[in-house]
């Protein structure tokens, strides 16, 4: 079996879906084949990199998104300032001031972390459960059902009108048909009467 044939097994192993036999077969092949060994390592690295593609927050959580953007904007800046200040004081050799600054920085760091956690909690409250999307979907469903009800009502009215017109047309046709039949019958009777008259006259002459 060549490397091509091991490709599916490699993917199964890579994503943890290989059964024992496949995993064992792949293991043996991997030990023998440097190219496949390198490839699966590269794919594992790639998978880690792909994890960097994170999803943006939806527009419905604009408040949380803006807050998080704001947080991201000041976080590197604040961290840079903090590190710069710390470095300055260390170089100055003032241990006491450094200790005091370190305490202040720790407090500031804790405050920042608390703010970030609060932001995450806010975002987390907005996002899970899909409150916004659920409301939107409900609204769409309501609107859609209202539209369908109007369309159905209009269709039923149209159907009733068409049915009534059809009924009137059918009745008119039946009526015309009856009249025609009556006319035909009357004509037949007249002709029969006339014929009988002729027959009577002929028999009297004899």
């Amino acid at each position: 079996m060549g490397c091509e044939e091991f490709r599916d097994r490699m993917l199964d192993v890579l994503y943890g879906e290989a059964d024992t036999a496949s995993a064992r077969a792949w293991e043996v092949h991997e030990q023998e084949c440097a190219a496949c060994r390198d490839e699966v390592r590269a794919l594992r690295r790639l998978r880690r990199d792909l994890g960097a593609w994170t999803v943006a927050a939806r527009a419905g959580t604009a408040g949380g998104g803006a807050a998080a953007r704001h947080a991201r904007a000041w976080l590197p800046l604040a961290a840079g300032v903090v590190m710069g200040l710390a470095a300055t004081f260390v170089v100055a050799g003032s241990q006491q001031r450094v200790d005091s600054l370190a305490a202040a920085l720790r407090a500031q760091d804790e405050r920042h972390r608390a703010e970030i956690e609060a932001l995450k909690a806010t975002i987390g409250q907005d996002r899970p459960g899909g409150g916004a999307i659920l409301e939107d979907v409900r609204r769409l469903i309501r609107e859609s059902e209202a539209r369908q009800a109007v369309v159905l009502d209009a269709s039923l009215r149209g159907l009733a009108e068409r049915s009534d017109a059809q009924r009137r047309d059918d009745m008119a046709q039946v009526s015309a048909g009856l009249s025609y039949l009556e006319g035909r019958t009357g004509l037949q009777v007249a002709r029969t009467t006339e014929l009988m008259g002729h027959v009577l006259q002929a028999s009297q002459k004899k």
Partner: protein
């Protein structure tokens, strides 16, 4: 432990409309993530997410429970994305300027350092660009596998293609991503995602 998706579907089909709300709550984030990665735009994602759930609501009454609900829902989501992309006929446009989530939708737990933020942002941008170069078919498979974490049989069911096709598309997609990212000097620099509490 709450009801399974299948139990909620059965409840909905028996007339319990609130079961659908629970399904939306349960799947909203994942469907949102999948749609975002396929179409690459916040505005489109919101519309398409609503459209997908509306279609699901309309179809759920007659949904045959032979297939998994999740596969069926992803199928709807992928189809609304395909329709939109077909109409748009454009390239994927992705915004980088928003809240970060890990690949399974959870928020990062550890605050990253400034350097990590810059590197992660750059890498994210490179990954997005690389993903945008894949064919639609390869991208769908990579997204469903790598970010939605569906199994191979689930992807095959969702996309209605044979298992072998799923693996072929995934392999090609990964190979192309690897080639492109390595050319740009990216070789496994991303840290492992933080665990979700």
């Amino acid at each position: 432990m709450g009801p399974t998706d299948e139990e909620l579907v059965a409840a909905f089909q028996d007339g319990d409309a609130s079961a659908f709300d629970e399904l939306v709550r349960r799947w909203d984030r994942k469907i949102h993530g999948a749609i975002y990665r396929v179409v690459g735009s916040d505005e489109d994602t919101r519309d398409l997410c609503q459209e997908a759930f509306l279609k699901a609501y309309r179809g759920l009454g007659t949904f045959k429970r032979e297939a998994r609900f999740s596969s069926w829902l992803y199928q709807i989501a992928i189809n609304v994305c395909r329709d939109r992309l077909r109409r748009r006929r454009g390239r994927i446009a992705v915004s980088l300027d928003d809240v970060e989530e890990t690949r399974d939708g959870g928020l990062r737990t550890a605050a990253p350092s400034p350097l990590e933020l810059v590197e992660a942002r750059d890498l994210r941008h490179l990954v997005e660009e690389a993903m945008a170069t894949l064919s639609a078919e390869e991208r769908e498979v990579v997204i469903l596998k790598e970010y939605q974490e569906l199994t191979f049989p689930e992807i095959a069911e969702t996309l209605e293609v044979p298992l072998s096709t799923v693996k072929t598309r995934l392999y090609r997609g990964l190979a192309q991503l690897r080639h492109r990212l390595e050319r740009q000097g990216v070789r496994g620099v991303a840290p492992l995602p933080a665990p979700i509490p």
